[in-house]
């Protein structure tokens, strides 16, 4: 099935980037009518019935999250949009913020109205400075038009929106580290409970949602929650942006109807990845951003039971972490047989070692230890026992840390070794063959049959 363009309908239209242009495309009209005719509760209900799941990685039902908001508290409530997007392989939020800034602002207005936030924030990844400027300009335009600020759209409701840049740390995408950063402190994740819905920004009830999640809200209200739930295959409702990269002919951001596109089609169709970029066979796929388990090609296109996999939360998760993976944030990268999986894992491990905030001992020490072991394996100086030790370390990190970064560092290690153990053993057995850093390009490591 071809792309189903909803969020990205106007992504390639330069008109969408200015307020005037966005209005010519029909923008803001609907927001005005929502503010004047709907109640916050009715918006909440629509979001609940839409089945929208958080697009930031965990896939948590958005309506359910909103319902956790502490409504008894007399403190102000906040909505924070997570635009930190630092997961390797994920670059879809950038697409929205850069090309459709007013679409995100509409989402922020409607969602904030539903939640009861009078001042909301968009936290933008530090490396996305140019995007920060784009958003600032769009917000200025919206203030000038009376769509933000006092008595917006003449609805009697006051609403402020600010953007805040990160300083270049992956960990600041974790919602509580993000809140620490927003409050001006070092971005260490907080100990939960309490969860942000009870005590978040400045100790007030707070909802943190991904850019893509928030951008979807106005569409849900426009068509109705039930209609939105009719898109995709329940419980994977709606459309999802996939950032596709790697050894494919057509890397880019694609919008799919969840559950309607098979993994095979996604890799090979001209509507999506367009097959291999240099004629070599695909070997492995990381389906949902660097943190999710890697799968060998055969397990990506078909489950262990031989059922063709579809691009949906459930289908990709089929088989658990033994033979399945997760849709995660939708950062899909494809590797052909020139990729050395040891080198690939080492590269990921370096990232997690660098990005660990260092607060809790399993992640701080474990990520560094794993990285050192992988560096030496890749250099041909490893031992066979290092391979099992890596798995052991990953098991000791997984589930025992403050925030999921520990798990995110552990899963790739466990899955690379589970599915590509022969490559790790090859590095120990034939150190002379892997001295050349491009060793896998000339002669791919054979997979035992």
């Amino acid at each position: 099935m071809a792309q189903r363009k909803m969020l990205l309908e106007y992504a390639d239209n330069p008109e969408a980037r200015s307020l005037e242009g966005w209005k010519r495309l029909g923008g803001y009209a609907q927001v005005e009518s929502i503010l004047k005719t709907r109640t916050p509760d009715s918006i909440m209900e629509e979001v609940k019935s839409s089945g929208l799941r958080g697009r930031g990685g965990a896939g948590f039902p958005c309506g359910l999250k909103w319902s956790f908001l502490d409504r008894k508290s007399d403190k102000p409530r906040y909505l924070v949009c997570n635009g930190d997007e630092s997961e390797p392989g994920t670059f879809k939020d950038r697409h929205i913020m850069e090309r459709l800034p007013h679409q995100l602002i509409e989402g922020m207005i409607v969602s904030s109205f539903a939640i009861g936030s009078k001042h909301s924030y968009i936290y933008v990844r530090g490396e996305y400075m140019y995007i920060l400027r784009i958003l600032e300009k769009a917000i200025d335009e919206a203030y000038a038009a009376g769509y933000l600020g006092k008595n917006i759209f003449g609805s009697g409701w006051d609403f402020d929106l600010s953007v805040h840049p990160g300083a270049g740390a992956y960990i600041c995408g974790e919602e509580t580290a993000l809140l620490e950063g927003l409050e001006g402190r070092r971005g260490n994740p907080r100990i939960k409970p309490p969860f942000p819905a009870v005590s978040g920004l400045y100790g007030c009830p707070t909802i943190v949602n991904n850019v893509e999640t928030i951008a979807a809200v106005p569409y849900i209200i426009a068509m109705g929650g039930d209609a939105y739930a009719g898109i995709g295959v329940k419980p994977s409702t709606g459309t999802k942006l996939i950032s596709a990269s790697g050894h494919i002919r057509k890397p880019g951001v694609y919008e799919i109807e969840l559950g309607k596109v098979s993994c095979e089609e996604f890799l090979h169709s001209e509507d999506y990845c367009g097959g291999p970029s240099n004629g070599r066979p695909f070997k492995a796929v990381i389906a949902g951003g660097s943190s999710v388990p890697v799968l060998p090609l055969d397990l990506f296109v078909k489950t262990a039971a031989g059922v063709p996999r579809m691009m949906s939360y459930e289908s990709l998760a089929e088989g658990g972490f033994v033979s399945g993976t997760s849709l995660g944030s939708g950062g899909l990268f494809v590797m052909d047989d020139s990729t050395c999986m040891v080198r690939n894992l080492w590269n990921l491990a370096r990232f997690y070692r660098h990005e660990s905030c260092g607060q809790c001992s399993p992640c701080r020490e474990g990520t560094a230890w794993m990285e050192k072991l992988l560096e030496r394996l890749e250099a041909g100086e490893g031992k066979l026992t290092d391979i099992d030790l890596l798995v052991e370390i990953s098991k000791k990190i997984e589930g025992n840390t403050i925030c999921p970064l520990g798990d995110a560092a552990a899963w790739p290690v466990a899955s690379h070794i589970r599915h590509f153990r022969h490559e790790f053993e090859h590095h120990v057995r034939f150190p002379e063959k892997i001295r050349d850093p491009k060793h896998n390009v000339a002669a791919p490591i054979p997979r035992p049959s």
Partner: protein, 345 residues
């Protein structure tokens, strides 16, 4: 008031109490070990993960287990909650992993470390650790930084528990002490290397679970187990003046705050009391200080790796025996009635 069951012991505690504090209320061996939580420091806890426990039933209303192990210091109890600490092999296994992580880059220079004998990491490794490390990489080291005349900072020994950071912020009141960098390159530093300069700065020594922060005025003077701890007090206008003087004969070798069974200070003391009052006449002596002997040195047997539960049981028995001996001697000394009995036992 919620009722919670920990390793088979039931207790009623105030709502909002953490599992750890509920366990402390029961007391004994089922209390999870802590390396970062400190009841007197706001925000502490959650970081070291040594206090992980298994919640097998979340509450009476929701009797399902929690999927992950929970940090007992930062997880509140609920009515009907059932928790396993020593009775869960999963917990003991995870804790073994945590000890390995904490020791991964620890220099193990105990023979030349002033903290030896009263070090929480030694105790933890002894009860919960492996006998050998599987790490064969060089250990991480930091260059030495000088944080002043009175406090020695050795960051190679630091386990990043953040206690000193909270102490500097909350007790010493000067925000010049903090964590810089991230991941395994995170380090304790003093901003712009300015020394900790406050009347209460010495308290960071007492909160440090390892030998990363030690007292320069007592450095290398004596092994702690050769000193006799005495409860003392003085009239001080900066703190309560209640302290422990560690004596060698008539000489006050070092002064610390009074610490409870969990190693936490009972009250903060000021730098004048700690670093300057080294004259016996400056203090009024109350009685010998009773020190919990759960340390490696106190136990006095290094027998290598054993089955964890066996070790734990032995640990409990040894502790009971020493307390009994101590009781018989009227709780006279810090280290039990007869050191010889300890060595042979």
């Amino acid at each position: 008031m919620p009722k919670v069951t920990i390793d088979g012991h039931e207790i009623e505690v105030d709502a909002g109490t953490s599992i750890l504090n509920a366990a402390r209320k029961i007391g004994g061996a089922l209390v999870p070990p802590t390396m970062c939580y400190y009841s007197k420091l706001k925000g502490s806890g959650g970081k070291c993960r040594t206090c992980l426990v298994k919640v097998v039933a979340q509450s009476a209303a929701n009797p399902r287990p929690m999927p992950k192990l929970q940090a007992s210091c930062s997880t509140p109890v609920a009515d009907g909650m059932v928790v396993q600490n020593l009775t869960s092999p999963e917990v003991l296994d995870a804790r073994k992993g945590i000890v390995e992580f904490l020791l991964l880059n620890h220099p193990l220079d105990c023979p030349i470390c002033d903290q030896a004998g009263e070090c929480d990491l030694q105790d933890l490794a002894y009860v919960h650790g492996l006998s050998a490390s599987r790490n064969d990489f060089p250990r991480r080291t930091f260059e030495t930084i000088d944080i002043g005349e009175r406090i020695e900072l050795n960051r190679n020994r630091c386990i990043l528990c953040y206690r000193c950071v909270y102490t500097a912020n909350q007790v010493a009141g000067a925000r010049v002490h903090g964590v810089l960098g991230r991941g395994d390159h995170a380090e304790i530093g003093t901003y712009i290397r300015s020394s900790l300069d406050s009347e209460m700065s010495g308290n960071v020594i007492d909160v440090c679970p390892v030998g990363a922060l030690t007292d320069k005025t007592a450095r290398f003077e004596s092994r702690v187990w050769f000193l006799k701890p005495m409860d003392v007090h003085c009239t001080c206008d900066k703190c309560s003046g209640k302290a422990v003087a560690w004596m060698r004969g008539e000489q006050v070798v070092r002064v610390t705050a009074r610490r409870d069974a969990y190693g936490e200070v009972e009250g903060w003391i000021c730098d004048s009391c700690r670093f300057e009052r080294k004259d016996k006449a400056a203090w009024t002596f109350e009685a010998p200080r009773r020190v919990e002997r759960n340390s490696v040195i106190g136990q006095n047997h290094y027998t290598g790796l054993r089955q964890l539960l066996a070790v734990t049981e032995k640990h409990i028995a040894a502790r009971a025996a020493v307390s009994a001996a101590d009781e018989a001697a009227g709780g006279a000394t810090g280290y039990g009635a007869d050191p010889a009995a300890l060595i042979s036992g």
